[in-house]
């Protein structure tokens, strides 16, 4: 394709202006040396034609589709908003970043070498320090960098302490060669995002990705899993490995959860782990389990509050001591942050020759460390065309000095002169541009790609792909971490001709979410239990609100006084169930009151116990076990919050819309429950999900009955009320089959409370609960007899089994309208359930005690000045 051919098409995807905007090297266009002729590069031609056939509008539509996929999956690299929803999701540009096979083989070889080199540097700096002794690296550059952690000295001697997973941000320079902008060695984010981007991309461009012969990513992760297992200490055959994250508030939480579920490791937090007897243990519902290997997503200083940053709340006290004893493998080893020091870049070529006897294959972007006189004067002389960075990359953003005023330049000069060792100057490089979809057209944009390397002693592999972010016009390429949001592209590494037949593309499959892990972490058990409870509570409230709303409509339509009597009781029950309190049922005064009560209960997220608030809690619990849910589950959660959000935006006078919303919510919640229950394997996690669900339903039923039928109402009202209760509990059909039309309190109590075959009855919940509790692992096994929760459930089961409806409803002559026996029965079951709940919490959930630093010393005091007295 030539320039002329491209330009001809009207309204083309590729506007003529592209050529003017592109930089010296463009991924799409090649230009002859004299600048006279332009043509589309060979590896872009067929893809460009395909895109042109689709057209800008279609591509924009696919971008929308990707946006939806991302939102559903919660793809975000930024802080989770309230309720765990992504505040600023990544945006996927459907136009991929292409890396041709020959470029790729240079990157691959270069990064593999670099990983070996950095590993050698790391082991030297925390070992013999030949680099410093021999003057290969200035001492100041290492000693003053916060990444050099003295407590880690000597801990890297174990063979499993190595830079197993490493990331480099690469960009193509003006000459066309790829160069490294930054090395990321502590806990580089983005591997999960790269996977997710690929999955989204293969959804929106299914045929193109196959036709383009793009390398697949799955093998990298399979091998990574083995590489990590191979690093486990004591040559363990089947090591227990975990991904250590910082919790759902971490901006990179999604990335961690995705990586964890893809690798099949549990995602844990510092509080899930504990050090005892010189080993690292995971708190599970079956007690403490030995952990052999940590893939950490927590930066160095935060990992151990005993020896590193004492203020860390996300670390594990004494982790470094366990590593020092060689009882846990940590990837990356603690202390690896020193390798992220950009001041090391200018010294790498010499170190490569010294340590590896090789020339550095992949150049770094030209960098000068100001701690050396010569480099300093170069930087100061050329300041206005350089980027200045602190050697502590997270302390200060990079600054492109070309954009500064004379005065600001002077300030920077003074800053550097005051403390030269703190700064590096870097060539900004006119980075190559690549086509990006901007408002339906292709426009040239600079891009930075994060590549991932996993290495063991005898082999290495580079993920054939990566996470590519397009930078905004004028933005300096500080690497990926400089900006934690934006537009990303899938990275397509093209197969060479010989490799083409090796790449098979089965239908794009989502990763398997099976967590191959035998012991359920206590925190996960707790979260699953709460997912069960909140989901059930949300459904229960929705159904009850719907019953009340229908009753309200009927009372308006027919004007039957019994309707309003029933309605006030239902509204009272709704209040009690949602907020836990309600004023005594008074006759409903006006439709405005009803409307307010209903709307508030459904959509006011600030009202504790409301449906909206319950749903937020559900989201929060679900997010904290992110790695256990499938994409479909997230879609269901997303649908529900969308529905609630829509309802919130409606004007207040919207009872018709409300009924509609409630109908949709019931279906969606039932769907969600089905998904969580049906797609969770029936292991302990499932038991906790079900326990939460059964407990919540039982207690809600009890509360509902307590707030509605504890005293006899007028006959007309009571009949309506019982009917509404049956509807709200999805038990009308059951009742009809058993009793035909004869509805009275006795038949209602039988169906709602005592019928062991009605899955909505209290008896059913209690008996099921007993079974789930029996299935839980018990300390000391069955020989220890029944646990407190099991005993309580046995009591409750006995109560419901022995209960008899006529007996429960037998009137006490002194208070004929009070149902005293029923009241006592419900209170009895409720109290056993409370006991079980407390016992369960005590036996299985985390109860992480807060940690505190022992403030070590009183001050060193010595008031012994000779001759002072």
């Amino acid at each position: 394709m030539t320039e002329a051919q491209v330009k001809k098409e009207p309204g083309a995807l590729l506007p003529a202006g592209y050529l003017d905007e592109r930089s010296e090297y463009d991924e799409l266009w090649s230009t002859t040396a004299d600048g006279a002729k332009h043509s589309v590069r060979g590896h872009w031609q067929s893809l460009l034609s395909a895109f042109q056939q689709l057209g800008g509008r279609d591509l924009e539509a696919r971008r929308q589709e990707a946006r939806r996929l991302f939102r559903e999956n919660g793809v975000s690299y930024s802080a989770m908003a309230e309720g765990g929803r992504a505040a600023r999701p990544w945006e996927l540009d459907p136009v991929p970043f292409l890396i041709p096979a020959d470029d790729w083989s240079r990157i691959e070889g270069g990064l593999a070498q670099r990983a070996r080199l950095l590993d050698a540097i790391l082991k030297d700096l925390y070992g013999p320090r030949h680099l410093i002794r021999g003057g290969m690296v200035p001492a100041e550059l290492i000693f003053r960098h916060s990444g050099f952690m003295l407590p880690a000295d000597g801990t890297l001697a174990h063979e499993h302490s190595a830079l197993t997973l490493y990331a480099a941000d690469v960009v193509r320079g003006p000459g066309g060669a790829f160069r490294v902008v930054a090395d990321r060695t502590q806990a580089p984010a983005g591997a999960g995002l790269a996977l997710e981007t690929r999955i989204a991309c293969s959804r929106i461009l299914p045929n193109l990705i196959r036709a383009t012969h793009v390398h697949r990513l799955a093998r990298f992760f399979r091998t990574l899993r083995n590489d990590l297992a191979g690093r486990a200490p004591h040559q363990k055959i089947d090591p227990r490995m975990v991904v250590l994250g910082q919790g759902a508030e971490d901006p990179a939480y999604f990335d961690h959860a995705y990586l964890a579920s893809y690798l099949g490791f549990p995602l844990v937090e510092g509080a899930d782990l504990t050090v005892r007897e010189g080993h690292l243990w995971l708190r599970t519902i079956e007690g403490l389990k030995l952990v052999d290997m940590i893939l950490r997503r927590v930066p160095d200083p935060l990992c151990d509050p005993l020896e590193l940053d004492p203020s860390s709340q996300v670390g594990i006290p004494a982790l470094l001591e366990v590593a020092r004893r060689g009882n846990v493998g940590i990837v990356s080893p603690l202390g690896a942050g020193i390798l992220e020091n950009p001041g090391l870049l200018p010294f790498l070529p010499r170190i490569a020759r010294q340590f590896l006897g090789e020339d550095l294959k992949l150049e770094s972007i030209p960098t000068w460390w100001c701690g050396q006189a010569e480099s300093r004067s170069y930087v100061l002389e050329n300041l206005d065309r350089l980027v200045v960075k602190s050697i502590e990359h997270n302390r200060q953003a990079a600054v492109w000095c070309g954009g500064l005023s004379a005065e600001e330049l002077q300030q920077w000069r003074a800053k550097i002169e005051r403390d030269p060792g703190l700064y590096v100057g870097q060539e900004p490089g006119s980075n190559a541009t690549t086509p990006a979809l901007v408002k339906g057209e292709l426009r040239p944009r600079a891009a930075v790609t994060r590549c991932f390397v996993s290495a063991t002693e005898d082999h290495f592999q580079v993920m054939p792909g990566g996470f590519t972010r397009t930078t905004l016009p004028g933005e300096i390429s500080g690497g990926l971490s400089a900006s934690l949001q934006g537009t990303c592209k899938d990275t397509w590494v093209l197969a060479s001709d010989e490799e083409k037949h090796l790449i098979s593309w089965p239908a794009a499959a989502a990763p398997s979410f099976a967590v191959a892990f035998e012991s359920l972490p206590s925190r996960a058990a707790e979260s699953l239990y709460w997912v069960g409870r909140h989901a059930e509570r949300a459904e229960f409230l929705t159904r009850l609100a719907r019953s009340a709303l229908r009753k309200f409509n009927e009372s308006r339509d027919y004007g039957d006084p019994a309707d309003s009597g029933c309605l006030s009781i239902l509204l009272y029950a709704l209040k009690v169930l949602s907020t836990g309190r309600g004023s005594t049922p008074a006759l409903v005064s006006g439709s405005e009151f009803v409307e307010n009560t209903l709307l508030e209960t459904v959509r006011d997220a600030t009202l504790e116990g409301s449906l909206a608030a319950t749903f937020k809690s559900l989201e929060r619990s679900a997010v904290s076990v992110r790695d256990r849910w499938s994409t479909d589950t997230w879609r269901a959660i997303d649908d529900i919050s969308e529905t609630l959000e829509e309802q919130r935006r409606l004007p207040r006078a919207g009872l018709v819309a409300l009924e509609n919303t409630l109908d949709r919510l019931v279906s969606a919640l039932v769907g969600l429950t089905g998904l969580t229950i049906e797609s969770t394997t029936h292991e302990h996690g499932w038991q906790f999900l079900m326990i939460g669900r059964r407990l919540e339903r039982a207690r809600n039923l009890i509360l509902l009955m307590q707030s509605t039928v504890m005293r006899e109402a007028e006959e007309g009202v009571e009949h309506q009320l019982l009917e509404a209760l049956l509807i709200a509990n999805e038990s009308v059909m059951t009742h009809r089959r058993r009793y035909r039309a004869a509805l009275d309190i006795s038949s209602a109590v039988q169906v709602l409370l005592l019928d062991t075959s009605n899955p909505r009855s209290l008896a059913y919940q209690v008996l099921e609960l007993a079974k789930h509790l029996d299935a839980l692992p018990r300390e000391g096994g069955v020989r220890r007899g029944l646990a407190a929760d099991q005993r309580a459930l046995l009591q409750a089961s006995t109560l419901v089994r022995l209960a008899d409806a006529p007996d429960l409803l037998a009137a006490n002559p002194s208070a004929p309208h009070q149902r005293e026996r029923l009241t006592a029965f419900l209170a009895g079951v409720d109290s056993e359930l409370s006991v079980a709940t407390a016992a369960l919490d005590q036996a299985y959930f985390t109860h992480v005690q807060p940690t505190q630093q022992l403030v070590a010393v009183s001050r060193d005091l010595n008031d012994d000045r000779p001759g002072m007295d």
């Binding site: 002794r133 100041e140 000693f143 005993l306 006290p317 004494a318 505190q852 630093q853 001050r859 060193d860």
Partner: protein, 295 residues
Amino acid sequence: MRYRVTHVTRYDYSEQVTLCHNEARLTPSTEGRQHCHRYLLTVTPTPRMMRERRDYFGNRVTYFGVESPHSELVVSMVSEVVTEAAPAQLQLGSERPWEQIRDAVHAGEDADLRLLQQFVCDSALVRTLPELSAYALESFTPGRGVMEAAMNLTNRIYADFKYDPTATTISTPLAQVWREKRGVCQDFAHLAIAALRGIGLPAGYVSGYLETIPPEGQKKLVGSDASHAWFSLYLPDVGWLEFDPTNDQMPTEQYIVLARGRDYADVSPLNGVIYGGGPHTMDVSVDVLDLDAPA
């Protein structure tokens, strides 16, 4: 001199501690002019795990973890140390002009000097300040012998700053100590280190003990001694020279070195993280007993 040092730290917790992890730097080393020929670290309740190692600076550090519930923790170190006086004759090289030292360290002429550059860099609790560098330069006048200049700096800190345990806490910044001209031995050591680093000289922090001699006719009270701190300055071919600005002298045989580092943060005698515990109190007692003194 022969000393027995007893250093007891006791924590009383208001709530139970279920697990604690600690690091103690309470064991004197055999080094320089002292010989530590025996010591015993006792922790109650008995730790499940206890292990001694050398840290980056060569200090003895003991990790211990108490893994059973407890509401008090007592860490007690008893050590016996024999000290010698510093050689009366100052070693060759200590009269060199101070700029020579600065330049040699800056140039990193050999491996040792390169590693020593660490003691010129800022550390966690000691950052150089222009006013402190200027203060140092009043002692380190051009061409002055390094030993003489360092002693002069020691004299001046002693004269210019008031010893006042109420003036500062562990987190008081140096700038405030400088402004208010008061503090304790730890502040004075930090101040001197910042001043020396500010003019390019390698300076370190020394923690230890000092035998206090009771006023004549009075018996020494057990527990009246305390941890002490002073600073050191490195001279190529000579080694570390030590100065005590709190007492305006170079350490004598009454000084026992416990640990060395860049500043206090490197030598903190006891660190720990506890699970639970609630509010708690701590009590430290230090006793330095002269084993040869008539009873």
